[in-house]
């Protein structure tokens, strides 16, 4: 009878104790302690790709060739050709932030692919302002930024490899790609026989 009470009590205590003891902790985003997966793009990959391509874009001087700096950028389609569903803003937003902080470019949020405004309220404000000032600034942009993310898998024995290719094009109003960038990140690891 005593055992019938004690054993559930011990079990409940064990569950309670293990429930509290987690090893959750913070790590620096993009640091060496971040988890690396072969089969998916990790946050450090997005950061690395965005930083590299932003640096190359700024160094090229392409954004400086506008009449009225800073250059106005419209975000076009970023095609996801990887095996996973990803939010391309993990790449594009980092580039937008870096370009804005550099002072070389600003991004329009009232003009997007298929006439869709990223910020509908801002679009309304712009239309009102245009009406009051007898102007038409809708769709005004110096460049369009488009791109593609591609995944290429390879496997030899127990070793799996994935190369992620981040490709971006900056197109001017004449339809010419005035800058193009590509950053490839390759990851390798050993894995069991199931899945990639």
């Amino acid at each position: 009878m005593k055992n019938k009470i004690i054993i559930p009590l011990i079990a409940a205590s064990a569950v309670f104790i293990t429930g509290c003891a987690t090893d959750a902790h913070y790590v620096a985003t993009g640091g060496t302690q971040n988890i690396v997966n072969v089969g998916q793009i990790n946050i450090q990959d997005y950061i690395q790709a965005a930083n590299t391509m932003t640096g190359e874009l700024l160094a090229s001087g392409a954004l400086d060739r506008v009449k009225n700096p800073p250059a106005i950028l419209a975000i076009s389609r970023i095609v996801n050709n990887t095996g996973k569903q990803i939010d391309t803003d993990l790449l594009v937003k980092k580039i937008r932030v870096a370009l804005l902080q550099s002072g070389k470019a600003v991004t329009t949020t009232t003009f997007g692919l298929g006439g869709q405004a990223e910020d509908p309220l801002a679009s309304g404000m712009q239309q009102k302002s245009d009406f009051l000032n007898d102007k038409n600034t809708t769709g005004k942009a110096d460049f369009s930024l488009s791109g593609k993310i591609i995944q290429l898998n390879a496997r030899a024995g127990n070793t799996t490899q994935a190369t992620y290719s981040f490709q971006l094009s900056l197109t001017d109003t004449a339809g010419l790609a005035v800058w193009e960038g590509e950053k490839e990140i390759t990851k390798q690891g050993t894995q069991g026989s199931i899945g990639f």
Binding site: Q48, T54, E56, A59
Partner: protein, 137 residues
């Protein structure tokens, strides 16, 4: 017998190590002139420093007015070494800039290889830099 096995093991290691080294060739009369900068180094990982050391640092300005830094590394060992690095940037007041989103970049260097890593400052106000090197896995 023990000596023979040890000798064979050493030879095998030496032969295997040779496969990771790098041969290279370049033009003897260089056209380009590198703007070398004097650097200040803090070495906390002597093991990494013995394996992969900094040979020199040179800088240039991009057409857009951004500071570009190139660091020459040398693998002093005869085997492939993995390392991680990232650059930090500072303005003229010594304040860090562009540090909100940085990633440690994984790279590798073959045995005896001389390799360059470079980075472009995220903003025109960046005047100084710091490179951090971490031993890879």
């Amino acid at each position: 017998m023990k000596t023979k096995i040890a000798a064979l093991f050493a030879v095998a290691l030496a032969v295997a190590g040779c496969h990771d080294t790098m041969n290279s060739v370049e033009n003897a009369q260089r056209e380009g002139q590198r703007n070398m900068v004097s650097d200040s180094r803090v070495v906390s990982d002597t093991s990494l420093n013995r394996k992969v050391g900094v040979v020199g640092v040179n800088t240039a300005m991009t057409p857009g007015g951004f500071l570009k830094v190139q660091v020459e590394l040398l693998n002093r060992t005869g085997s492939l070494q993995n390392f991680n690095y990232h650059f930090e940037w500072f303005d003229q007041n010594g304040m860090q800039v562009g540090g909100s989103s940085t990633a440690v970049i994984a790279d590798e260097i073959a045995g005896k290889e001389d390799k360059y890593i470079s980075a472009i400052a995220p903003t025109e106000v960046a005047k100084d830099f710091r490179l951090k090197l971490i031993l890879g896995q």
